[in-house]
């Protein structure tokens, strides 16, 4: 696969094929994040289109100090916020407000030990993921998380950004990033357990 730096160099020279390759590589990731930041799919699509326009306009000035992906996400987040359609950024206190335990407290005894422990999952869950509609179910569940949890889980666990990148991108503290990641991941685990018919 041609790496990003080569594609950027070609795009800087006006190469349409390089633009297409970048669109194929990043468009749906950008769209996935955009959908968590604006009220509708249609607005998300507009925001991503504006992002690509920002890319072709700005690529001459892109010097590769950050990765291309990080730069793309930054343009996207700025565009999404400036649509003003929804307040993309919440006060940190609100992050803390909605405390949901990772596991239903009823599953622990008064001493804090499991009384209803997790049932082991099948070893072939990865096969099931490709063989069945489980992947679609996971996507649906992901979309049900509060937006900030979605954003952090998407960027960290699906797109593979590191914690510092996510904090900078979403303008949240390291502590908040971790809380959101924890809640999001815990809920997805719970949903998967329910999906597998195992608590």
């Amino acid at each position: 696969m041609v790496d990003d730096a080569q594609l950027v160099a070609r795009l800087q020279a006006g190469d349409e094929a390089a633009f297409e390759a970048l669109v194929r590589r990043y468009h749906t990731s950008l769209l996935r994040l955009a959908e968590t930041m604006v009220p509708s799919r249609a607005v998300a699509e507009e925001v991503v289109q504006e992002t690509w326009l920002g890319v072709v306009r700005g690529v001459a000035r892109f010097e590769g100090r950050s990765s291309l992906r990080t730069w793309l996400f930054h343009i996207l987040v700025n565009r999404a916020r400036s649509t003003g359609a929804r307040e993309a950024r919440r006060a940190p206190s609100q992050v803390q407000a909605e405390w949901v335990p990772a596991v239903d407290p009823a599953r622990f005894g008064s001493d804090g030990a499991w009384v209803d422990p997790p049932t082991p999952w099948p070893d072939d869950i990865d096969d099931r993921l490709s063989a069945t509609a489980l992947a679609d179910r996971v996507r649906t569940h992901l979309a049900e998380l509060p937006e900030q949890q979605q954003q952090v889980v998407i960027l960290r666990d699906i797109d593979g950004l590191d914690a510092a990148e996510v904090c900078q991108l979403l303008d949240i503290s390291e502590g908040n990033q971790r809380v959101l990641l924890h809640r999001g991941r815990s809920r997805i685990r719970r949903m998967l357990a329910d999906e597998l018919g195992k608590g």
């Binding site: 633009f19 769209l31 685990r189």
Partner: protein, 84 residues
Amino acid sequence: MLLRRRRAMVCREIVEAVTDYLEGTMSGRDRARFEAHLEGCPHCREYLTQMRTTLNVLGRLEPEDLAPEAQDELVALFRRWQAE
């Protein structure tokens, strides 16, 4: 001596500390307490395994396919911009 022998972690605390553990943000002492609990608790080991599986599942989610119309529209946008 009293300080060093801190209370052991219980299962209910393990499930809330699991992200700090996986993120590597725990102090050495908390990490040792976490691991000491795991050693004696198959249920929490299972829980940790499930969290790791969850991360694998998320990491393997393929992005949706890009609709050809969306791609065409963007290429048209690129051409318009080039023509300007």
